[in-house]
Assembly symmetry: C2
Homo-oligomer: 327 residues x 2
């Protein structure tokens, strides 16, 4: 009998969506809670809450003891989206207007703040053991995501960013949050430090793979399936894994070409294909693929430190599904 992991994931997402729909119902003032509801019911992969749930199960627990914590990490994630979209001056998110465009700057700041608070409120509901550790992990996730976003903003005005600096930034901005989800799930279910650490290692490596995959998809995705225009990172002049690695490998002429991207704060859409060919020529697409593979293998490897179970198989499926994703 083969387990349909995808169906298992979809089922949990349905349960979570129902919770998100009911979570902030009837709360006042509307000026605060409507923007909160708007963002939290706007979909998304719901990967982070699923990581909490499945990690709890992999550590010997039950989904039922982890739903509030799962909701909490998604609220925290949505807080970062609302505030990051303000800072990045983004107009669209998941095909809809961003919160600050739809409701204005002040409600966007305030509803982001409120999402953090409601996240803690929900997290606390599930804290029956390891409470201090759970709260420290969650809080550390929040601190590192702030630090990561600051580094990301700094990079916009830093002339040369090294690959190590970039990797530290995505670790803080993305990977620590995935680690936190896995550790919180584990801490809800077990006191076994080795199992908690193993799931944390899975999460951080998965997060790193996920983010580099994000950079890669932005330029190599199938336009039909991607959901937004391919090449946006170059158009915005963002310093991605591919861009930084390309600068490292380029000769003088190619380097000049690459530096134009940041000097002009981005390129035109019609130049995307040219830069894509340059990335391919310099071998940085292959570099990204092997980096993603390395982190994914590390993630899968850390699961061997846990007892075999269906939940572990689900985590393996998830890691493999993420590197095959089209958007």
């Amino acid at each position: 009998m083969t387990t349909d992991y995808s169906a298992q994931y979809e089922e949990q997402i349905r349960i979570l969506e129902k919770r998100f729909n009911e979570l902030l119902d009837e709360q006042k003032p509307a000026s605060l809670y409507e923007p909160c509801r708007y963002i939290i019911t706007s979909g998304g992969k719901r990967l982070r809450p699923f990581l909490v749930l499945i990690s709890a199960k992999a550590a010997g627990g039950e989904f039922n003891n982890a739903y509030n914590a799962a909701v909490a990490v998604e609220l925290l994630h949505n807080f970062t989206l609302v505030h990051d979209d303000i800072m990045d001056k983004a107009d669209l998110r998941r095909g809809r207007e961003t919160v600050h465009i739809k409701y204005g700057l002040n409600p966007a700041i305030l509803s982001g703040d409120n999402l953090v608070a409601i996240a803690y409120k929900n997290l606390i509901l599930d804290c029956k053991r390891n409470t201090i550790d759970i709260l420290n992990e969650f809080t550390n996730g929040l601190i590192e995501v702030c630090e990561g976003q600051s580094y990301d903003t700094d990079f916009e005005t830093t002339e040369s960013v090294t690959l190590d600096e970039y990797l530290l930034m995505i670790r803080k901005k993305t990977a620590v949050m995935a680690m936190m989800c896995c550790k919180v799930g584990a801490l809800l279910a077990t006191d076994d430090k080795k199992h908690i650490e193993a799931l944390g290692d899975f999460g951080i490596n998965l997060g790193m793979a996920f983010q580099i995959q994000d950079d890669l998809l932005d330029i190599m995705a199938d336009q039909e399936k991607f959901g937004k225009k391919v090449g946006g990172d170059l158009v915005e002049g963002k310093k991605t894994f591919l861009y930084i690695r390309a600068l490292e490998k380029a000769d003088k002429a190619d380097k000049e070409k690459l530096l134009e991207v940041t000097r002009n704060k981005g390129i035109d859409w019609n130049q995307v294909e040219e830069y894509r060919q340059l990335y391919i020529k310099l071998g940085v697409i292959d570099d990204a693929v092997s980096e993603i593979k390395k982190y994914t293998e590390n993630a899968l490897g850390s699961l061997n430190r846990l007892p075999a179970s269906e939940a572990i198989e689900t985590l393996k499926w998830l890691a493999n599904a993420l590197i095959k994703r089209a958007k």
Copy 2:
């Protein structure tokens, strides 16, 4: 022998200031931690952390077990200042540039977010008992302050705000935070629910008195001692206790005069004296004084539900000192 309460307060403030100075030292990135340091070392009354400390003592505990929690509530308070100043478009705070003016919008949003996270981090350090209750109180304080700020913003564009609506707003925006400080202090020190509630009641009533006193000082303060120009609330067109109460009591002609304040989104500095005389004539200054007295007496009364101690005397001194303050 009389205790010098003022000296006791000053001593604790010195200890707290030292902590604030050392708290974020050497942390990176500077783009995130420098704005955090800037606001947290910019002075202020440090009332909230003092409430935590003295409440812990009044509930039978020691200052030494409450310093991290005291730091936490001040960090949370400073987060509200940073984000509120953005929303209120305020240029100055404590005689210095506000964070968003000095560092820009994005660092101000992000350092505010980070202050919340560091607040939780510090709070957790002192959680040796009643952990869930402490975290719920703290989190509820954060939620209500967001709700209060939303109501406050709503009021700017609401034609008629009732006194009850106003009192609910300041309860959420100011008084719940003072209650939280007292309850957190108590929860660190005792499991006695009656004592915890009594200190909470002290805090919420003190907070209400404090905020109405704030409204009163804004128009009735001694200009020499006040530190900023008297009448700012009228100039900004804010709906304060005095303004809303005046509207309730005014006849048709006075009402027209009062409505000009909000219709024109504020008055000129040279009209302040005229409106001050109107407030006096309508008796709303007296109304505010008796409202402050009522809340202060309620605060003092709730202390009778706790065993007599020097800490209780300090709380009484504090409540009386606050209603006599000049700024």
